[in-house]
Point group: C2
């Protein structure tokens, strides 16, 4: 698959770029916000396109033309202001979905947030506005025509990946290395069992490919 | 109709309370956030219930039990922080829709914002985060099972109402007295032509009832 990656400069995104770049099955087209970011990635021979989640659906659709899948791994992460949360994590995400439909990119893998589907779990969260944005972005994806997978990882760490995970509709809170999130996202691209499915993701005892097959 | 009003203390909401209170067709149950607000309304014999858009769907459903319609006229209006915009204008609104479905309240009239459906019109707006929240609240309402009407008024003024409006799917920007917004919202409750419809609303030359019939 030719994969359009949104959020290539993020901490999870950087792992995804490497995995796709070294894959036999996939190639990557990395969306970045500036020429400067594009130059940095070109040094490593990554194909890039400069575009912005705050621009129009048409511009995003043009950027992803000819791709087979979108991975959305961008995010303000709850640390930027809630205005950016609304503009990027919600409206930016949904614009990328509409762009995918417009550009006839059928597959869409979303990096969401742990328990984003379950409002009760973040009623008192300090990052509640961020969770609201992720919640509605996911709901818009589910109601779209896209063949989606929504991956909701637990607390992200910078530990090296183990390649072993646990994934289910609902899990207890735990953590997972960013590297394993990236591996799970990339492995899900072609795994039919994940089509039109959403799941929490945590470190665990099952190899990623096996865990995805048994979902 | 027994109408559950969310946002009874707002500037438009106060007009709606009066209209419903003096109506032969309707009664009002006004949702307020505090006992203090409830006391103030009880002085004028308005039926109140204390509830909060940041509480759970179940609590909201319980508050609206036995009502025939919901009017949503609450709003941070773009002046509070964007965190409240996410929690009230988006998540609060959608929770009230889910509560209405749960409590089997079938009719839902939303006071939205001018051109909220048309992303291109607010790309550069200073209240873009607010517009994003209203946009997705409206989209969630459209995809719900509720019999909705979405009213998108232009710039709100405190002039006395004229009773004459213009309403269409898309209008040029203009203004309208809050009193006329309230009258249009209340008049739409029983007007079948407005069922499952959305429209921009502005001051104009046509009496409200006639304008609603001719939409």
């Amino acid at each position: 698959m030719k994969v359009f990656l949104i959020g290539a400069n993020g901490q999870v995104g950087k792992y995804i770029v490497n995995l796709l770049q070294n894959s036999d099955e996939h190639t990557v087209k990395a969306m970045v916000r500036s020429e400067q970011q594009a130059e940095a990635l070109k040094q490593t021979e990554v194909v890039t396109v400069v575009a912005n989640l705050e621009s129009s659906v048409d511009e995003l659709a043009k950027a992803m033309e000819g791709c087979d899948a979108v991975i959305f791994s961008a995010g303000s992460g709850g640390k930027t202001g809630p205005d950016k949360t609304l503009l990027v994590d919600l409206d930016g995400a949904v614009k990328s979905m509409e762009a995918a439909e417009k550009a006839r990119v059928k597959r869409y893998v979303m990096v969401s947030a742990f328990q984003a589907h379950n409002r009760e779990s973040w009623m008192d969260s300090p990052i509640k506005p961020y969770m609201v944005a992720k919640h509605y972005a996911d709901r818009m994806l589910i109601s779209s025509q896209l063949n989606y997978t929504i991956v909701r990882p637990g607390g992200l760490t910078n530990e090296p990946g183990t390649g072993n995970v646990k994934l289910e509709e609902n899990l207890q809170r735990g953590s997972i290395p960013r590297e394993d999130v990236a591996k799970t996202v990339v492995a899900s691209l072609n795994e039919e069992k994940t089509f039109r499915r959403s799941f929490d993701l945590m470190s665990g005892d099952t190899p990623i490919k096996e865990a995805l097959k048994n979902i």
